[in-house]
Symmetry: C2
Subunit: 222 residues, 2 copies
Amino acid sequence: MTLFGNLESGNVHKVQMLLHRLEIPFRRVDVSQPKGEPTRAEYLKINPIGKVPSLMLEDGDIITESGAILFYLAQGSKLWPGDRRAQAEVLRWMFFEQYSHEPALAVMRYLILFAEGPQRNNERLEELKPRAERALGAMEHQLKMWKFIAAETITIADYALYPYTAWAHEAGVDLENYATIRRWLLQIESESRFLPLMQDGAAETIGFAEHFAQKRAGVAAD
Amino acid sequence: MTLFGNLESGNVHKVQMLLHRLEIPFRRVDVSQPKGEPTRAEYLKINPIGKVPSLMLEDGDIITESGAILFYLAQGSKLWPGDRRAQAEVLRWMFFEQYSHEPALAVMRYLILFAEGPQRNNERLEELKPRAERALGAMEHQLKMWKFIAAETITIADYALYPYTAWAHEAGVDLENYATIRRWLLQIESESRFLPLMQDGAAETIGFAEHFAQKRAGVAAD
């Protein structure tokens, strides 16, 4: 399998974490957001919405959207429950992550680490901070009842929520007041085959330009 | 079943559309966003993130996040495919909807119809318009290949994408240039048991204050 995406993206890291956990070997093509690579013509053929990650399967078929990729990979493992109510609970937290959690925490982190124009950013950061806190509050509430976010055991919903929660400090949000979330982060980190943030889990990594040049050369040679 | 939410919300309408299609009778408790009801203490007990819809099942259990609710309701129907690759494709478009489509189109519609402070809104609308067009472009691209968004037959991904796409004009986006999307909207509208936007599909509808007063009275009488 080939994973398209960069290490700085939490959405990419979720997929890496799961591939690593399930011991599925993969190569990674680096697609850099700061360089604008996700919206380059070559990549838009892989994912027309111009976002990372994308996963190319052995047969060349492509899945996009981190949540759909996690769902696909986890089938048949303990990370996806058997009962439809429990499955809906896992998806509930995965949709929550993409709809309420990521658009606050990941955008704040992006503004702080990568964006330009500080004046505008401060205004936007102030607007987003209460949303981030509301999302973290909902997680804290849930994790006081259950050991993991969607069940008593780890599921793909925990993988979906881990990266941007663990990166909260880079988004300007202190987890000091979220003791239960901090307990949950440590639990995930103590799971077998945990892959830390920014660590490359790929068997082989190749640059964007190099990959697409090889592809063109391959086509020309056919 | 009891659906919590208002008719003006596309996320609520998706769930209504599916309940109606599957001939599942339900009551609806109106939760008005303009009145701030989703973040009132009574409702936060139902959904701590303070968003609509929420679905209360017969046993009192609650599912939130429209995508998770659609998944739960569609199990065992033709609207959820049997094969894991096809299932991932359905979820792909549902995550796309919540992550790329709804945050542009639904926010633009909200700003135009419900928000205050026109100056600020215009700036935000300009920022969001290219994102809405990129999302619609990805749909148009996909619908040129397939009859429905995730398969050759209708799935819950089509229900997820219908409301805010059909409301694009209310978000200030003309579908003139999206002939394939317009064809797809008409296909969905010609499906059996289609529920039009703003139409109440509930067997009974009750106001927010009335519902929670009854609940308090019920508890007091116990």
